[in-house]
Amino acid sequence: MKLTLDIWRQKGASDAGRFETYTVEANEHMSFLEMLDVLNQELIGSGKEPVAFDSDCREGICGMCGFVVNGVPHGPVDNTTICQTHMRHFHDGERLRLEPWRAAAFPVLKDLVVDRSAFDRIIQAGGFISVRTGSAVDSNAMLVEKNKSDRAMTNAACIGCGACVASCPNAAAALFTGAKIAHLGLLPQGQPERTDRALNMVAQMGKEGFGHCTTIGECEANCPAHIKLEAIAQMNGDFLRAVFAKREESAGGGAG
């Protein structure tokens, strides 16, 4: 199958960037990224700069890959990363436009590669729990309500790829942050930091320059990990509760 690709080429963060058109001969068994590998081999062979794109596991579980294909993050296949999208979903002679995630918080580094460190800083602000060291505790010593454990697992599936931000008309990171807050906040192990987690992660999300959530639902529809809008409501609820629950630190009885 022969494809025409309009790919965003940008030399670096300070370059304005532009679309350049390429043709590539692919077959339907290739993954989308393998098709780009073929294109890049041809570009290298003819002495040109290959197209930069992020990838790592190519199994849809690491969250490294991702760009917009014909206006849809991760391409046309529902709930699938671009690395797990295969060329059988496209047809011979098709023209595809490849564009990086667009958000102020995700500056383009090169071509289709964006810097997603903003997500790392949101995690650092509160996406953790404290655990005691020492011998391992019995795995079932702490009881977890089945429903909450299921929802925590659902939210833990977030791979942090950034498609939610990319698809959101407001470039909001609410689905990502919501998934992290819901994942940890639903479990007993996440309770000690629950108040500060909601306050700090939401504050960091704002500092990074992401937009606001307007419950449009594009993120949910584009998420390769099936994270639901419910995660955002969980974040909103946790944050609002935290605003009222937050207390000054005080040393009371037993402080010595």
Binding site: F19, V68, N70, G71, V72, R97, E99, R102, A103, A104, A105, S167, P169, N170, A171, A172, A174, L199, V202, A203, M205, G206, G209, F210, G211, H212, C213, T214, T215, I216, G217, E218, E220, A221, N222, K228, L229, E230, A231, I232, A233, Q234, M235, N236, G237, D238, F239, L240, R241, V243, F244, K246, E248, E249
Partner: protein
């Protein structure tokens, strides 16, 4: 004996209102709360206006005029309600403006091609339907509260006369039709999104809210539209 002293500085105090206002999540919650207040007003306003259809009572007075007189009778209640509504509008509008500016800053470079996979028109144009409602309300107040535009022979307190004359004068029908379509679209998403903004994420609840928001918004828009249409059609006249 020397005594060492240590200056302990208190940690910066935690301003709950400040934290709410500084975050997009808090602003959306405030927009949800003020949105609930304004929606209740819209509903009450609609129910009161239905009396336009009930004509006169046994004394020959129009019911809607007696209702207006009743509302204006208790001044503290009247001005108290107006103040609450004005504050709610201010919070709602200022938050919306700030969030809209933040949205622009969050994506300085637009996509060359972007598809909407799963979203409604009403959800994507909330800000702009809000702008439509804002200008509609200003026109509505100028016309039927102050009587300075599009009401030939405005009579203070004679709501029946003002409405039956005003709603078919000049550009009034256009303002009412466009305004109410804007209101319907805004409520259709706003009433649903309110649950999400306040943290009610249980899918059973949000699916219920999604369905009923559409029903309530449609009913409110249609009943409100019926007033200018009934006047234009000559079904209600003085």
């Amino acid at each position: 004996m020397s005594v060492a002293t240590k200056t302990v500085t208190a940690p910066p105090s935690f301003s709950r209102v400040g934290v709410l206002w500084a975050s997009t999540v808090g602003k959306k919650a405030l927009m949800a709360l003020t949105g609930i207040l304004l929606s209740l007003f819209v509903l009450g306003h609609l129910l009161g206006n239905l009396q336009l259809y009930f004509g006169r009572d046994s004394t020959g007075a129009y019911l809607i005029n007696k209702y207006a007189e009743f509302l204006h009778h208790n001044k503290p209640l009247l001005y108290g309600t107006r103040t609450v509504l004005l504050v709610a509008v201010l919070i709602h509008v200022i938050a919306a403006f700030q969030l809209q500016l933040g949205k622009g800053a969050a994506r300085p470079v637009e996509y060359h091609q972007k598809e909407s996979v799963n979203s409604t028109v009403s959800s994507r144009y909330m800000f702009w339907t809000g702008v439509v409602i804002f200008f509609f309300v200003i026109y509505h107040l100028l016309q039927l509260t102050l009587g300075v535009v599009n009401v030939p022979g405005f009579r203070e307190g004679d709501v029946f006369h003002n409405v039956t004359v005003g709603l078919r004068t000049g550009v009034a029908p256009l303002f009412y039709v466009v305004g109410m379509i804007g209101l319907g679209l805004h409520l259709r998403h706003g009433l649903y999104s309110t649950f999400q903004s306040l943290g009610a994420g249980n899918p059973a609840v949000s699916q219920w809210a999604l369905k009923w928001a559409a029903v309530v918004a449609t009913v409110i828009a249609l009943v409100n539209l019926s007033f200018p249409l009934a006047v234009l059609a000559g079904l209600v006249k003085g």
